[in-house]
């Protein structure tokens, strides 16, 4: 029978030797910083609009587009001065004094000749798109005016109907939803599980190879059964991974809980400053242009359901134990990491598959194919977790997925234990798949 007190000793060793290493501390504390930095960078890029204003000279041969364009954006669109020739403008563009010029041909309005935008390459696709949209708006306005269309129709054209995105939660209350955000979250969480499964699986495999090549395994197996050693190692490394994930989740939770109050604090401070300056200037206390409250409820979308975290751990632990038992068996079968490549490939394929499918699943979480991938045990540790984050997965599907995963985990463990038991005491030639099969069949 399995001796649990000895397994516990092995778990303790596996755990304590790993969490004390520098690389563990570094990866644990640097990763959230990197992710925070990355998120901050994205937010900064989307929120801040401090791009240097672009200057484009409008050469308007039709004589009708310049005025509405300058009305639309006076800093961007400049009229051509009488003294300037096109060649001078081109020189200025080359010298980076101007960003470009737009040429409207005489027949732009009458015959639809395309306008030309000549530029120095700065600005990119976003700027080009916004230029095109400006020109489209202005042209449409001119055409509507030319055709003496009624005000009512002009209003129809200017209308921008809004679509609010609300998702029904479990309590039956609809709340603000951001499908984009949860898709990103789903992909991110999939990446985490993928890295966790593969990264910690590789760590485990390397440690099995090290025990084998340093021959300590023979001393250990003169005290414990190979299956006890394998289980102890699996659980020990799994605990290290859970420790790391817990620290990350705690950091994340801390950040999201603190984000709203901290943001509110800074906003209040700025409003206070603003009000002070306003009241100092104007004794009547005109504060009409100071926003009384800023809606921070969007921050709630970043908070994570504790139940989801629980399921995340369940799927990670089960997936890790299943895959890592194979990694342990591979480590036991070979003498060096180079030799492991051949056996790694077939194991890597399903993990990679789950990882790749994840991008589709984040987009279409309730498609048949997403359901299959989230039930299939080799991909479910990644795909079910993503689906649960992006969509409302029926509870029975989650349970079925866990059940299938547990069954295949037990099967894998039994197979892996047989390879492991024989492999750790075999040295020399790398075994073939046929020999591994023989090891499994040996009672």
């Amino acid at each position: 029978m399995i001796n649990s007190s000895k397994i516990w000793l092995i778990i303790k060793r596996e755990y304590s030797t790993r969490v004390q290493t520098k690389s563990f501390l570094l990866s644990t504390f640097l990763t959230p910083l990197l992710i925070l930095g990355f998120m901050g960078f994205i937010i900064f890029m989307t929120v801040s609009d401090n791009e240097a204003p672009k200057q484009v000279v409008v050469i308007d041969e039709t004589g009708r587009l310049l005025e509405p364009l300058t009305q639309l954006n006076a800093t961007r669109y400049l009229p051509i001065t009488a003294s300037q020739s096109i060649d001078e403008i081109r020189d200025q563009i080359m010298a980076d004094e101007l960003d470009g010029y737009v040429l409207f041909d005489r027949s732009f309005l009458s015959e639809g000749t395309p306008a030309t935008f000549v530029h120095n390459g700065a600005g990119g696709i976003t700027f080009f798109e916004s230029l095109r949209s400006d020109i489209r708006d202005v042209t449409r306005q001119i055409r509507l005016e030319d055709n003496e269309v009624s005000e009512a129709i002009i209003e129809i054209f200017e209308e921008r109907p809004a679509l609010e995105n609300r998702r029904l939660n479990e309590a039956g209350v609809d709340e603000q939803s951001n499908a984009f955000l949860s898709s990103i979250g789903g992909i991110l969480i999939g990446v985490f599980i993928f890295i966790g499964l593969f990264g910690y699986g590789a760590i485990l495999m390397r440690s099995v190879i090290e025990e084998k090549t340093s021959r300590i395994v023979e001393i250990i197996t003169s005290s414990v059964k190979p299956i006890e050693l394998m289980l102890g190692k699996l659980l020990g490394v799994c605990l290290v991974a859970l420790t790391q994930f817990s620290l990350w989740i705690a950091t994340y939770a801390g950040v999201t809980i603190l984000a709203a109050p901290v943001a509110q604090f800074f906003i209040n401070q700025r409003m206070g400053d603003l009000q002070n300056s306003v009241s100092a200037l104007d004794a009547t206390g005109a504060v009409a242009n100071v926003p009384s409250d800023i809606d921070l409820s969007f921050l709630e979308q970043f908070s994570v359901d504790p139940l989801f975290i629980l399921f995340f751990f369940v799927f990670f632990v089960l997936g890790f134990l299943m895959y890592s038992s194979i990694f342990a068996a591979i480590g036991a079968a070979v003498d060096s990491e180079q030799d492991s490549q051949q056996f790694m490939t077939p194991v890597m394929l399903p993990i990679l598959l789950g990882y790749m499918l994840n991008f589709r699943i984040a987009e279409a979480p309730d498609s048949t194919f997403a359901i299959v991938a989230s039930l299939f045990p080799l991909t479910s540790p990644i795909n079910m977790v993503t689906r649960m984050l992006v969509s409302n997965v029926p509870f029975w599907e989650v349970l079925l997925s866990i059940l299938l995963l547990i069954l295949s985990l037990i099967g894998m463990l039994l197979l892996a234990a047989r390879i492991y038991r024989t492999g750790i005491l075999m040295y020399g030639k790398k075994p073939t798949f046929k020999e591994l099969y023989k090891w499994i069949r040996q009672a």
């Binding site: 000793l9 030797t17 340093s214 021959r215 300590i216 001393i219 250990i220 197996t221 005290s223």
Partner: protein
Amino acid sequence: MSLVIDVQNVSKHFGKATAVNQVSFEVEKGQIFGLLGPNGAGKTTTIRMINHILNPDTGSISILGEPASPKSQERIGYLPEERGLYKKMKVFDQLMYLAQLKGLSHQAAKNAIDFWLDRFEASTWKKKEISELSKGMSQKIQFIATVAHDPEIYIFDEPFSGLDPINSEMLKDIILEEKKRGKTILFSTHRMEQVEQMCDDICLFNQGKAVLQGNLRSIKQSFGNNTILLDFVGDSEFLNELEGVRINNRSTNFAEIRLLEGASAQNILQVAIAQAEIQRFEIVQPSLQDIFFSTVKDTKVAD
């Protein structure tokens, strides 16, 4: 006499190869027991089965009266042929881990390790990683890992291989000392002089079979006084003229001559005196080396 290790009709196959074939032997309490044989003879596989690392395909192994089991593992101190420790682990932590795996409590393990580290004057290495130690130092740590749980049985697989003369002598002293304390020691080796000096009983392995076993002294006696040790000065050409003998060991002025069927020691002496100056002529029991070679050769012929 109580049986400490009882191996009965044990066989072990790896695929089509037979590593151990119907082997039986018994080790009594307080003995030093030698497993001899060339490489690949099945010694290590047998030792692993006694240690309950491998299970025999057929036959039975009893340790201290009970079948080999995780419980019997705790009563054995095992030093494998290929030594190994965790390179990145500190000496003390490593010894604690291994001793506790052998069933010692935290406190008992700590006491034993402190005692042994002190005895080897190695207490200052406690906080060092194995990778920082010299080969001789890590061999001492390895030895402490084997003995810290105070087992009743010691099993050493090729204990003297890779040891320098000083460590080798120290290990020999410890083995004899542990025997005095009533411990039972089984070791495998291919170095005959150590077996002759230390062992009570031996078992000789060849190609997976136990080809010769029993009390070392009786075995040597059973071969009779059939060996001549000859010291001489002069031309050694006469050695080539001898008939009915095998010359086991030969140098410029020494020869160990084994008498085969029908050869006479007196004839040899006459031939030798006629051609060289004889300084020693002694009729003795064969050396273990000689017994080893002739037994292995005989089994080969029998196959």
